[in-house]
Every structure is written in structure tokens, then in C-alpha cells.
Symmetry: C2
Subunit: 418 residues, 2 copies
């Protein structure tokens, strides 16, 4: 894409009430727009990153047997009353609204209730199970403290998968598959080295649930990390001495962290309240065993920016970068340099490499500052200088290494360094 055609601009100013590093950088870089506290819109560059994150998640869910659906945001009060979660005392983050035809509706902050109700139409027999259904859908939570940018918002896309199993064993097997799928997601988006499976409180049906916590100064959670096992325990579940549940190690490190995902065994809590049963092989009626598994794609983006940025620049991991290459034309009034840049742009685009081409008529310093801010790790520079020996300059921002590359071999050089 040509930068002259991209409507969003980098900015020097951010809204006065914005305090988080990730939102400040993403607003300055033209990725997001702040609508109000805890509510952000996605501009073209931000939506590109969001789509890449969502596709990584979607691929891992599909590979785990998930079937994608799309549930409504508007929630039927009666269904939530069945489980005791309609009351504002039980759930303090509801957004509720009034129907023109009378009565109230809620805006979903999660979807256990409606999906359990819906599955009553599709699950009758053991032959219909197991079922794994997920969506990537907009949730609403009436947060009173929304000061962490994309990490805690009042409206956000969430991938939520729900599992429906016949037995505790079948549930446990899928729960392990999800642990692997989640590990894959965080690894693919670049957060693997800082993200730890974390024991958290489990509710009525299991001792623990599991969170995935990314160590990060902007985090709102506190974990106790066992460096030997690379697993952690959420501070909230300790009454006394923290200890690693895997190896018994008592020498744990206390870290601030962001909860980037969670997986939860629900047992029969929802199937019982809403009457989701199946007839088993012995013709006996049984309650379906459920689990739920959440990841917030935009929260991941916020965490990635907190982890891979300084005050003036972002450095996106390749898999989620808005473009693979940022091509800068430094001397737009030099016909040779422009011709070289156009040739490179066309050749890389023809090779299905996603290129953001800074073809603007602005000075080099502004181009470098904007490119640092926008955060693509591979930079290709065409200038009066590079045309002299017929090469272009490639900068890999991760290593800081500059390489002069012939346009003929550029595409393969890029593909080798993505």
C-alpha cells in the first residue's frame, strides 16, 4: 500500500486522559482512535494487525476441532436469570439496556448461558458429542477503571470457545489440547518467551483454572513465577507461602503480568442450570460437561506493544506486523531513486510480500521517525545514494543490521528474514 493513499496519519498529540503506553503509541502511530475511556476504534493499520492476530487464533482453534459461530451481543434476561448471573450484584460489569417493546436486555460480557441454551437444539445423544464451538465476537464490560489502553476496555473482540463433552476424561483431554493451542497462539504472536501458564482459582468443579500470563510492567495482575518450570501461580490463590504446583519450588519470582488468556473447567454448572443433557450409550440421561476458553485479540495487541516498544517506536513481531516490509523512498524528487523504489514496490507486491511504501514528499527524518513509530521490522531504503551501485539498503530493526541487496534478490532476502 502506498502511504500517500493511507488516510491515517501519525500524530504527535494524544488525548489528555490517555495514560497507557500501548494506547499512546498506537494512537500516535495511527493504528487506533480513542472514542472514550476504554473504547477504541481501529484504523486501517490497526485493523490489519487485529486481523492477523485473529487469524492466528482462528487457525489454532480450527486445528483443535473448533467450529466457528457468531452469537449475538444482545442477551435475553430470562436465560441469565436461570444461572443467577443477571443480577448486578452477581455480575458488576453488565451493560444493560431497555427494549422498545418492553423489558430489559443485556450486552454479553461472556456467552456460557446463550450457547448452553442454543446447544439444547443440537445435542441429544452421545453421538452428537463432543462439540467445540467458538466465536470471535464483541464483548461489553462496564469497567470503571479503564486506564490500560487496549489491555482493559469496555468493548472488545474476544475469542471464546466452549467445549461440550460426555465425560470428565473427554473434557480433560480437550482441556490439554487447548493448553497446547494457547501456547501455540502466544508463541506465534511473539509473546511466547514472556507468557506462562498460571494456576488460578478454579470454581466449584475443579481445583484450578489456568490463565496465560505475560510478564509485563503494565500488567494489572501479580504472579509467582517458577523459573525452573516456566509456570506460575496467580497471587490471588495464595493464603500463605507460594509454592510451584509442578515441582514444589518455594523460590518463586513475583512479577507484574497481563492475563492474555484463560481456560476454565465449568463442569455441569451451566448444563444443569439450563437443562443441557444427552442420552448416553446405556440410554441414560446425563448432564453435558463444559469448559470455556478465552483470548482477547486486542488485549494481545496491547500486550505486544507494551513488550516490544520504547517511547518513540514499536517493533512488531513478524506474524502480526501490519506489513512485512516498510519501503522508504528518501529522495522523492530524484527520478532515479523514485524509479528504483517503484520497481522494488511492484516486484515485492507481485511476490505477495505486503509492503507499505512511503512515497510521500516529506523529508527523510520524518520518514524514519514515522517508520520507527509504525513498527515494521524490515525496512528497505531507496535513495539517491542506493541508486548509484544499483542496490537497495535493507535494515532489520531487530538486529540493527544494514545490508545492501540487489533488487533481483530482494524478494528472497526478505522472505528469508521475515
Amino acid at each position: 500500500m502506498r502511504q500517500t493513499e493511507l488516510f491515517s496519519k501519525t500524530r504527535k498529540e494524544v488525548p489528555k486522559d490517555e495514560v497507557s503506553k500501548n494506547a499512546k503509541l498506537l494512537i500516535k502511530a495511527g493504528f487506533i482512535h480513542k472514542e472514550m475511556a476504554g473504547v477504541y476504534s481501529f484504523l486501517p493499520l490497526g485493523l490489519r494487525v487485529l486481523n492477523k492476530v485473529m487469524n492466528v487464533i482462528r487457525e489454532e482453534m480450527n486445528a483443535s476441532g473448533g467450529q466457528e459461530i457468531l452469537l449475538s451481543a444482545l442477551q435475553n434476561k430470562e436465560i441469565w436469570e436461570s444461572t443467577g448471573r443477571w443480577s448486578d450484584k452477581a455480575v458488576d460489569s453488565w451493560f444493560k439496556t431497555t427494549l422498545g417493546s418492553g423489558g430489559e436486555a443485556g450486552l454479553g460480557f461472556t456467552h456460557e448461558e446463550p450457547i448452553t441454551q442454543m446447544m439444547r437444539d443440537h445435542i441429544r445423544s452421545f453421538r452428537d458429542l463432543p462439540v467445540y464451538a467458538y466465536q470471535i465476537q464483541t464483548k461489553f464490560r462496564n469497567e470503571t477503571r479503564a486506564k490500560s489502553g487496549l489491555i482493559r476496555t469496555r468493548e472488545f473482540l474476544m475469542k471464546d470457545l466452549y467445549s461440550f463433552s460426555r465425560t470428565a476424561q473427554e473434557h480433560d483431554e480437550f482441556y490439554k489440547i487447548m493448553q497446547t493451542a494457547y501456547t501455540n497462539v502466544f508463541s506465534r504472536v511473539g509473546l511466547g518467551p514472556f507468557t506462562h501458564m498460571t494456576y488460578a482459582s478454579g470454581g466449584s468443579f475443579s481445583k484450578y483454572s489456568h490463565e496465560f500470563q505475560t510478564v509485563c510492567d503494565a500488567g494489572e495482575d501479580t504472579i509467582h513465577l517458577c523459573e525452573k518450570c516456566s509456570i506460575a501461580v496467580n497471587d490471588e490463590i495464595f493464603s500463605d507461602q507460594p509454592v510451584c504446583p509442578a515441582c514444589g519450588n518455594k523460590n518463586l519470582s513475583v512479577k507484574k503480568s497481563v492475563e492474555v488468556g484463560n481456560i476454565f473447567s465449568l463442569g455441569t454448572r451451566f448444563s444443569e442450570a439450563l437443562g443441557l443433557k444427552f442420552v448416553d450409550e446405556k440410554n441414560e440421561s446425563k448432564l453435558v460437561i463444559m469448559g470455556s476458553y478465552g483470548i482477547g485479540p486486542a488485549r494481545l495487541i496491547g500486550t505486544i506493544v507494551e513488550s516490544f516498544s520504547d517511547e518513540k517506536s514499536i517493533l512488531w513481531p513478524s506474524a502480526v506486523a501490519p506489513f512485512s516490509v516498510h519501503l522508504l523512498l528518501l529522495d522523492p524528487s530524484d527520478d532515479m531513486a523514485r524509479k528504483q523504489a517503484e520497481t522494488v514496490y511492484n516486484a515485492l507486491s507481485a511476490g505477495n510480500i505486503e509492503v507499505l511504501f512511503d512515497d510521500r514528499d516529506v523529508r527523510a527524518g520524518e520518514k524514519f521517525a514515522d517508520a520507527d513509530l509504525i513498527g515494521v521490522s524490515l525496512r528497505v531504503i531507496a535513495s539517491s545514494r542506493t541508486t548509484k551501485d544499483g542496490t537497495v539498503e535493507v535494515l532489520d530493526r531487530r538486529s540493527g543490521k544494514h545490508t545492501m541487496v540487489s533488487p533481483d534478490t530482494l524478494a528472497s532476502h526478505i522472505n528469508a528474514h521475515l
Copy 2:
């Protein structure tokens, strides 16, 4: 996909309060689930159709120069007060809610206000224009009469594009590009022959706006159609004798129709209220000229089902069908027939043809009835009978024609008949 792995089932019953043909059929076929009046969720088959419709729209918007973004559903009251549209008297379909931190927020029923406000950060000079930005995003409208299934819902995805132009002429040129893009969308999803550009009321800045109306008994609108020009006039704009605005013909046919899209010249209504200006070539400050352009993907699906179905079956146009081929194994206990079906399934899947494979252990009559309901137009049948001469039977439901085809040439036969 194997039908034994698809969690959704066809159903005989529909909710008692469901009166619309499109929702009844889509619920029976397992495409959608009714959450409450005017609120539906999408099951795997329904989401496949929705994604296909959205991709057709997305391709046409991108080809017209549109840049995709994603705005928030939650709306800032102050911005809407600037244009006089916050009041429930001005807009009777608001869903509003209360913020935990105090104050009210709305749920967007359209996005002129927030996108105009947002563009103030990105449009300064004539060099920044024109801009065409669109989203496919969930809208909320507090409908009191929601009895038309997917055609009128309280929560729905909408593609809304907004144009920002320097001059009336630049606006008019893009408005014509959108007329063509819209015509392409309706043609590609199969509604072309029944869909007519329709003159409707224009607001303060233009005499007319344009709707795209699909002639359909389930429609809530009435149009006067000029059969000669294939254009129409909405009943709402006539005070006396209807006449074709293109050719003067007074012999117009009165039809029921569904508004499947609309395009609207907004002039400076929103840019003036919210202060969206640019500096032109003469260094003069000018208001940006705007337009808005909407299509509801799910309303399109409802209209397609109304247009291509009878009481027991749907017949999807190829471009939006959930699968390209429905493969039915009629004698699952016959090893030869099962082997033939498996071979065909693997070969077509390897050829990137989307196949729904009815590998269930149920009787042939149920498979045919379900396949009629699910609505894929190309059906491939493998049975004890077809294995005898080594062919499979292909039924094109549109023509009713049966053809015996060798598995070797099946993929090319399918590709020629999509």
C-alpha cells in the same frame, strides 16, 4: 466438511413467535438460532454464508478505493449532541446504556458522527482528500416490530462506507462509483435480476438519495418500477402521479420490496456540525463534502432466502452457498459405496472445492430432505447403484438435470457448473 462432525442439526420445529419465511427456513436448516425477537446468532453454516456475502462486499469496496476500519459500537453522547441526533425524539431507535463511571453511552445505529469526529485527526489539507473508509460492524436498532427474520433485526452487521471529498464534483464521481459497486454486489450474490436502483428522499443536500430495492413479497417497502429503465421510485416520495425520473414513463408497476442497500449524499451536514474542514489549494478553509453508503449482509441473506426457496428448501446462488457441493453417501453400510464417497470427498477437497459430505448413518430420504433444506445447488450422490458402473450422479438442482460423471472428471465438471 463431514456432516457427522458438524454440530448443527436440521430441525422440524421453529420458535412459536417466528413468522418470517426466511428465519423459519434458516432455523430449520441449522443456519441461525433465534435469541429473541429480532436477534439471531449464526451457526457454522450460517456464518459460512455470512462470510461469503461479506467478502463479496469487501472486494467491491476495496476495488472502489475503500479502506477498511472498525469503529466502536459504544457511542459518546457529546458527539451525537453536536448534530442533534442524541435525543430519542430525533432518533427513536437508540439503544442507550449507563456507564459505571457515570453518564450515558449509546450503541451505534450508524456512524456518521464518530467517523466525522475521528477524521478531524487525519484530514487537514486538500492533499489528504478524498478519503473513503468503510467497516463491516455490528449496529444496534431498537426495533419495536421485528417480524421479518433477518430482514429487520435489532442487532446486525452492516457495511457502512463514508466518503470525504473536496468538491461536489469529486463527491458525485465517487457516488457513481458506489452505484456501480452496489450493482456489482447484488449481481454477484444472485439478486441482480430483482434489484433496482430506486429514487428516495434526499435530505437537505440533494434532491434524491438512492436505495437498492429487491422485489420480494416479504418486503416492507413499496416501489414504483419502470420496467423499461429497470429503475424505481420509492412510494414515500410521491405526493401525486408516480413517474419514472429517467424516462418520464407514467406506467409504473407497484411492487413490494426489500431495501438491500442505500447511498446518500450528506453534503456538509456532519462536517459543519463537527468542524471537519480542510485547507484548499488557495489556502482557504472549506468544509468536507460527505456521503454514506450502507449494505446489511444479513439482510441480504434474508432476502436471498425469500427469493430462492419454497416451503421445504433453499437454493443458494453459488457465490454465497455454504458449500459448493453437497456429497451424499446413500448406502453407508455398503463398503464400496462408502469407499467411492470417501475417494470423491478427498479428491474434491484436494482440488479446493468446498464439500459438505453427508456421511451420516441415516436413511436416504432424510439425507435428501436435509440437502434440499440446506440448499447447496450441486449435489453428488454415491450409492450402491453408482458404484456398479464406477460413476457418481451429479444433480444440478437449478436445472433439475442429473448427470452420471466419472470420478476422474468430477472436479472439472463441478468447476464448470459452479
